[in-house]
């Protein structure tokens, strides 16, 4: 009887379920949010790794899902935004199966069993399964191409998979380039965007910076032909301005609206701020006990430096506080020849070898920036250098003593951004940013200063409901484990800055996202 009654109740209820709760002002109905003057039905995002959602040293699915363009598209969807597609990788491992050495898996944060952090390491719980040789045969709204510099967006063949191994093409673009000859900008324009974002130019200085300034600064060389540029060079300011102007001119054709972002101070990213210039602690059992011997040896050199009129190059390690590393500064005059003569009475036949090692050496100062990757080499024995010295007739023991990186063997250029290199970077950045701001203004486009945003993160940090986002490596929440690219939370901040700019320029009104809902770095001990 009761079972039968339930049926009647169900029938009776059917008519009643219809009166479900409804808000006085439901946000999902039109009117609460508005796109203002914008048509967001087909948003195309152009840029580099930042736009693609590259993080932790790799491109992987959840990073892409948390890219600022994808976050924006979710907010846009509340007022007229169209579908937003991305060339998602095949996995959350990252890297390419075709060449996992050059394009390895993502970093994860490794911890000791007691919960103390060890540091980032490449994830090995799975292997890269994405192949750049497989073209997805479709166009995508997110056209961010990791590694792309300004001029790459107009370079034919940049998406030719066959050129990747030669370094002539980009594997990320190869996955969705419409043909082997096409350009990024052509494929973007072919989608007839109704709205675009462009954030390009970071890599025009970044790869110079991350490589410790080993490349060339074409503002110095005056080389205006980007096809001859090396991968670690700084793009000439005029080349950047000309290409940037062409890109924007093409994008705004037909009254298309968009937003431009400028270039942040890349050297305030944790990649450049984490390793201190003076990391050598006297408490380090591998270093501290050696200090008297080291200082005795360097004392001989310091006498020669003084005699040669360069006493500022003196090297001495403190027994009480952490000492700066020894670096090779290519901006210094090479005094190898004079030094050889000066130290021959002390070092005898070894003098030429020793002099060559310290011809441009000095101790680092607080003005030098050590790159993140230097942390794993400082204090390590350079076995190649040992072999080399032994080949030059140095005893095995002596060769070993002379080959401790950053202590006896000056850190190579690639690990240090010396002040002159930093100046080259910031000069180019200032010029690029002036170009971007002027072009935004000339075209009436929305503009976001990523420089201002990052300086807030790197300064006091940006508060959110669960703390403060800072640029502190691994724990600050703003930067992923590669020290360069933002975390999802960092992308959320960028998305909010863009939404604000769209409100200001186009009268749009969208809800912000809550940075606290976005993650930071991923912990895993699935590493080798």
């Amino acid at each position: 009887m009761i079972k039968k009654n339930i049926k009647y109740i169900a029938i009776l209820a059917l008519g009643l379920v219809a009166c479900e709760s409804e808000f006085d002002n439901p946000i999902e109905e039109s009117g609460v949010y508005t796109s203002g003057d914008l048509d967001l039905s087909n948003y195309v995002a152009l840029g580099n790794s930042l736009t693609a959602g590259f993080a932790d040293g790799a491109l992987y699915i959840t990073g892409q899902e948390n890219s600022y363009p994808n976050i924006l598209s979710e907010q846009f969807a509340l007022a007229g935004g169209g579908e937003f597609t991305q060339p998602l990788m095949a996995d959350n491992v990252g890297g390419f199966s075709d060449d996992p050495v050059t394009f390895p898996s993502r970093f994860v944060l490794v911890f000791e069993d007691d919960g103390t952090p060890v540091g980032p390491a490449r994830y090995t719980g799975g292997s890269p399964s994405t192949s750049f040789a497989t073209n997805l045969a479709s166009s995508f709204n997110n056209m961010g191409v990791p590694g792309a510099k300004s001029y790459h967006l107009v370079a034919p063949g940049y998406g030719n998979a066959a050129g990747v191994a030669l370094g002539a093409a980009n594997p990320y673009f190869a996955r969705f380039a419409s043909s082997s000859e096409t350009t990024v900008i052509k494929d973007a324009l072919d989608q007839k965007p109704s709205f675009f974002s462009l954030w390009i130019g970071n890599n025009d200085i970044l790869s110079y910076a991350t490589s410790g300034g080993v490349g060339e600064d074409h503002n110095e060389t005056g080389n205006l032909d980007p096809s001859t540029y090396g991968s670690n060079d700084i793009t000439n300011n005029n080349v950047f301005a000309s290409i940037y102007n062409d890109l924007v001119t093409a994008l705004v054709a037909g009254e298309t609206e968009g937003i431009l972002l400028d270039i942040p101070d890349i050297t305030s990213a944790p990649f450049f701020t984490t390793v201190p210039h003076a990391p050598l602690s006297p408490l380090d059992p591998n270093f501290g006990p050696q200090i008297p011997t080291l200082n005795a040896t360097y004392g001989q050199l310091n006498l020669a430096f003084a005699a040669l009129g360069v006493p500022e190059r003196s090297i001495e390690f403190s027994t009480t506080t952490a000492s700066p590393v020894v670096v090779k500064d290519e901006s210094l005059i090479d005094i190898t020849a004079d030094l050889t003569v000066a130290i021959t009475p002390v070092f005898g036949p070894l003098a030429p070898v020793v002099a060559a090692q310290y011809g441009q050496a000095r101790q680092a100062t607080s003005s030098d920036l050590l790159v993140l990757t230097s942390s794993s080499v400082i204090g390590q024995l350079d076995t190649d250098r040992v072999a080399e010295l032994v080949g030059l007739g140095v005893s095995q023991e002596m060769a070993g003593q002379l080959s401790v990186k950053g202590v006896t063997l000056p850190l190579e250029d690639q690990y240090v951004l010396v002040p002159s290199e930093q100046t080259a970077i910031s000069n180019a950045q200032s010029s690029y940013n002036a170009t971007i701001r002027a072009i935004a203004s000339a075209n009436g486009l929305a503009f976001v200063s990523a420089k201002a945003l990052l300086s807030r993160v790197a300064g006091g940090g940006i508060p959110f409901d669960g703390g403060v986002v800072t640029s502190t490596f691994a724990s600050g929440g703003g930067f992923s484990l590669d020290g360069i690219h933002p975390t999802p939370r960092g992308h959320a901040l960028a998305a909010n800055a863009i939404l604000e700019a769209l409100e200001e320029t186009y009268g749009a009104k969208f809800p912000k996202v809550n940075p606290g809902d976005y993650g930071t770095v991923t912990a895993s001990n699935e590493v080798n």
Binding site: N5, S21, Y33, G466, K512
Partner: protein, 418 residues
Amino acid sequence: MRKLLLLVLFVLVATVTYAGGYRVSVQGQRAIAMGHTGVAVVNSAELVFFNPAGLVYLENKLNVSVGVTGIFSDVIYQNEEFGVAAETDSSMGTPLNLYGSYKVNDWMSVGLGVYTPYGSEVRWPTDWAGSHLVNEIELAAIYVQPVVSFKLSEHFSVGGGPIYVRGSVNFNRNLNRTLSDIEGNRSNVTIDDSGVSNWGWSVGAMFNPTKNFRLGFNYRSKIIMEVEGGDATFANVPNSPAVGLTNGSTSFDAKLPLPAELTVGLSYEYQKWLFAFDYNRQFWGVYKSLDIDFASTPTGPDSVNPRNYQDSSVYRFGLQYQATEKITLRAGYYRDESPVQEGFFAPETPRNDSDGYTGGVSFAISPKLAIDASFFYLRFEEVDASYDFYQENGQNVPFGGTYKSSIIAPGLGLTYKL
């Protein structure tokens, strides 16, 4: 008595689920129809719940009331600042109530009741904006209560009895707002236990100054449901010592109070009309915090969730009209004050002050058997509320927005007299 036993057997095999808040007032079809009043109404065996003292004034030797209520609840949430919205999956709950009383002699009746005064079923979309507080919860508590009622005079009676409670809980939430495994799957925990039992009691009194006027009093004790060694299952936890947890099962201990409730009320009969008023005081103050202690972490509770409920009141009004020989009409209203305080509005029990509108009809098929239909609509005001005591890195992180909910509950029952 054999029929009562059959009824008890029936309830043991029936699956019972609940909806709405955590205290669900659906303890009798006739009472529901009258705003869930009944402490001073002598009408049916529903008195086992409402006031066992009144059983002895029932005219018949044997009284049986059974009923089932279909509860459709719907909760919507939105946050305009962040553009997020969510709605609970409104599944149907069907709590049952079964009561019987037997007049042993002129001054004593005995009875038995099986009813479900507490329960909750709320299912938010998995990984919704408040998933760090709750994805879904299902609470059920079934009360089994034998009672005895003594008539001290035509004017005064007392009654009461022990309560045996059997309950179950299933609760899932994400570990925090962002933690996920390498694939981006959100780390979460499910706690589950059933067969949790404990004892309580109730006592009532009824005073009839005149033939038409009754006053009632009823008190039901609090019962603390103590889970010991329930199953806690962690999922999608990243493989890292940094988390301090690993995927898989551990056990947990927790306590959930089923608060005490005091009811005083009156009824007045005038010709074909009956008016009733009940005042409930629900002693929710006992619910200070929901603390879950996982066995895998030996020291201290691992999930501390302040609730800080306060004692609350419900004002109930009911009216009955004997329309014809066979048909009785009923209507009611009640004002239910929420025990949830400002800043403690958790989406697992999204209850603010509400107004209940009720109605119903009884149709007497024969002098012995009647069908009782009831209906109530519980309307919660739209409310901007937040839960401010969720912590991340030692800092309170409020979760708030606008909530609105409603409950619709049609019910059907039978009353049998012999």
